[in-house]
Symmetry: none
Subunit: 205 residues, 4 copies
Amino acid sequence: MGKLDEKKRMKRESLLVSAFSLFTSKGINDTSISDIVKHANMAKGTFYLYFKDKFDIRDKLIATKATQLFRKAAEGIYYEKEIYTLEDKVVYIADSVINQLDEDKMLLKFISKNLSWGVFRNVLVSGTEETGGYSFYDGYNALLKESGRTFRNPDLLLYMIIELISSTCYHVILQQEPVTLDELKPELYGTIRDMIHRQEITQMD
Amino acid sequence: MGKLDEKKRMKRESLLVSAFSLFTSKGINDTSISDIVKHANMAKGTFYLYFKDKFDIRDKLIATKATQLFRKAAEGIYYEKEIYTLEDKVVYIADSVINQLDEDKMLLKFISKNLSWGVFRNVLVSGTEETGGYSFYDGYNALLKESGRTFRNPDLLLYMIIELISSTCYHVILQQEPVTLDELKPELYGTIRDMIHRQEITQMD
Amino acid sequence: MGKLDEKKRMKRESLLVSAFSLFTSKGINDTSISDIVKHANMAKGTFYLYFKDKFDIRDKLIATKATQLFRKAAEGIYYEKEIYTLEDKVVYIADSVINQLDEDKMLLKFISKNLSWGVFRNVLVSGTEETGGYSFYDGYNALLKESGRTFRNPDLLLYMIIELISSTCYHVILQQEPVTLDELKPELYGTIRDMIHRQEITQMD
Amino acid sequence: MGKLDEKKRMKRESLLVSAFSLFTSKGINDTSISDIVKHANMAKGTFYLYFKDKFDIRDKLIATKATQLFRKAAEGIYYEKEIYTLEDKVVYIADSVINQLDEDKMLLKFISKNLSWGVFRNVLVSGTEETGGYSFYDGYNALLKESGRTFRNPDLLLYMIIELISSTCYHVILQQEPVTLDELKPELYGTIRDMIHRQEITQMD
DNA sequence: TATGAATGAGATTTCATTCAT
DNA sequence: AATGAATGAAATCTCATTCAT
C-alpha cells in the first residue's frame, strides 16, 4: 500500500479518475482504453502497467466508490446523539446512502449498474487495497451485537435491505418514477423496519 | 399479426430464438450480429430486414419474454380454488414467477440484466406487437379492485414488490448466496404481505 | 418511342424524376437504387426492368436535361428580332443557358458534375431516345452557315466556348466567387466574341 | 515538418503514393481504404493514424500535386532570358503546366477531376503543410506588379485563365478530341492574351 | 517506467443484384 | 410486368494489445 512511490500512485489515481468520469458520462461500453488514457494525458501502454483491462479498472473503481459511500454513511452515526434503537440506526445509514446518491447521480448510475452482491461481498466484507482496510460488514455486525437482540439470519437481512434500497432508488432518483424520492422514503423505511422486526428472534419464539 | 406471411414470421422468430440463446450464454456485449445470423443460418443482411440493431432485438425479446412470464403466472391463479385474500393472490403470482425463473436460469439472467422499470411499463402496461395485447398491469388493478380494499399508491406498491423480488432473487437463484431460494422465500413473502398491509387505507386512517 | 404503352412510360418517367431529385440533393454517390425506388414508390426489382444500373439512369438524365437546356436556349432566338450578327446570336444563346442554370442551381450542379465533352457529343450531336431527335449541333452549324462567314475549326470553337462557360459559371453561380455572375458576364461574353473573331478566316488570311 | 521522425514520414508518404496510384488508375469511388493499405503493405488501422478518411487523403494529395505542378512551372521562368512581357510570362507558365499534364496523364486525370476553385484557393493561396509554404498566388500578383500595368480584377483574370485551361485541356489531352493538343494551343494562348488585354486599364479608360 | 506507432481481427452496416412468386 | 425478401460481398472504422525504443 505505502510501497508505491508517490509518482506512480498519482498516475494510477489519474487513470481511475479519468475512467470514472468517462464511464459515468458515456457508459462503460462506449468508453475505450484509448479514451481513458487520452483523458488522463498518458500513453496507451501506460494503462497496462496499472490495470489488466477495462473490467479490472471498473472493479477497482466500484470498490473505491462503494467503500467511500458506506464509510461516510456509517461514520455519520457517531455524531448523532438521539439515535438509540437498531431500527433507527439502520434507517439512518440507509438515508445517508440514499441522500449521497441523490446528490451524485453519476455515482448512483455507476454503482447501480455495477454493484452486484458478489462484488459487494468482496468490497465491503473484506478489506482490499481499495478499501483501505475498512469493512462495512464488521460495522454492521457490531451494530447488531450492540443492540443485544438476536436475529435469525443477519446476512439475509442485510442482503434484503441492500437489494431493496438499491433496486427501488435507481429509477426513483433518476426518473422520479413511479413516485418521487420523498414519497418513496417513508414506505421504504417502514418496510426496512418491518424486515428487521420479522427477523428478530424473541424469547417467545 | 396475421399480416406477415408465415415464412417471414418464421425468419423473424428464428432470429429472436438465436439472439436469446446467444445473449444468455455469452452476454449481449459479446454477441455480434454476425453471431446471431450465423446461429440462425441466414445472411447478415437479413438481420436488418427485421431489426434495426442489436438493441432493437434485445428490446423485442424482453417484451416477449417478460410478457410470457407474467401471463403464465397470472393465468395459473384461475385454476386455484383455495386462494381468497389479495395477499395470497399476490404471493401466488410472485411464487409462480420466481419458480419459472428458478427453472429457466437463462431467462432469469436475461430478464434481470435488462428489465428496467422503464421497459417494464412499456411492456406490461401497454400492449405491443410482442405482448399480443396482454396487459399485466390491468390484471393487477383488477385484483386490487376485486378485493374491495383501498391502497394509498397502487403503482408504488407494485413497483416495490417487483423490484424487491427481482433484485433479491437474482443472486439467490444463481449463486445460492447468501441463502438458498427456499430460505429466502418465507422472508420475501412475509415482507410482501407487510408491504401490502402498510399501503392499505383502513377506515381508521 | 411511341411503342411503350402509357403505363410503362409513366413508371420510367417516375424513376427518372426520383433519381434526378435524389442525385441533386444527396449526390450520386450517396444515392442508392433503394433510395430511388423508395422515392418512386416502386419495388426494387422494377428498377432493373427499365435501367441497367445507377450510371445508366444518370446518363439518360443528362441527355434529357442537357437537351432541354440547349433546345430552350436555341428556340428563344426565333422570337428575338434585333439580333443580327453571329456573335450576338452565340452570346444570346450562352446568356440563355447561363440564366437557366442560375435559376435552377440543382440543374447546374447536376449538369456540371456530369456533362463531359464525350457525353455532350453523344447527347447534342446525334439524337437519342432522350433528345427526341433534336440536335443542337446541327443548329449551331446552321448558324455559322447563315452568317456567310468562314471559320478555321468550328468544332474547336464550339468546344472552347462551351468549356469556358461551363467551367467559369459553376463556382460563380454557386459561390459568387471570385466574382458575382453579373461581374463575370461582360468578361465572358467579351471573350467569346474574341474567340469567334480569332477563328474567322478573312479574305486577307 | 522536421518534427515527425523519418519513419513516420515514410509511412505517410507511402500511403499518399499508393492512394495516388489507385485513385488515378481505378478512380476514387472504386478505391477502398483496404486497397490503399494493401498496396502500401500496411495494416488497415495504420491508415487512420495518418488520415481521417478517403477524402482527407484525397485533399492532401491535391494540395501536394497541384503545388508541385505550379511551382515547377513558375520556377522555369527564371531560367528563361527572352521573356519580357506579362503576356509572354503567363503563356509560358500555362504552357509549362499543360506540358507537364500532357506528360503525366494520370496527374491530369486526378487534378482535373478534383481541383475546384475552392480547393485551388486553399492550396495555392495560403501555404499548408502540403505546400511547404509556397504560394502561387503571391507569385502571380508579383508578376502583375512587376509589369507596371493595371488590371480591373486580377482575381477574375486568374480564375478565367485557369478554368479555361483546365476545362479545355482535359479531353484534348486524353482523347485528342475535338482537336489535338498542338491544334488547341495557339487558340488557347491567343485567347489568354485577349483576356489579359481585355482586363487592362489603360490611361484612356 | 513510459511511450505511442503498428497491428489486424472483427464489428456494424449498406447495397446491387437475383429470383421465386 | 411487378414485386420485395434474401443474399453475401465489401466498405468503413474501432480498439485491445504488443513491442521496439
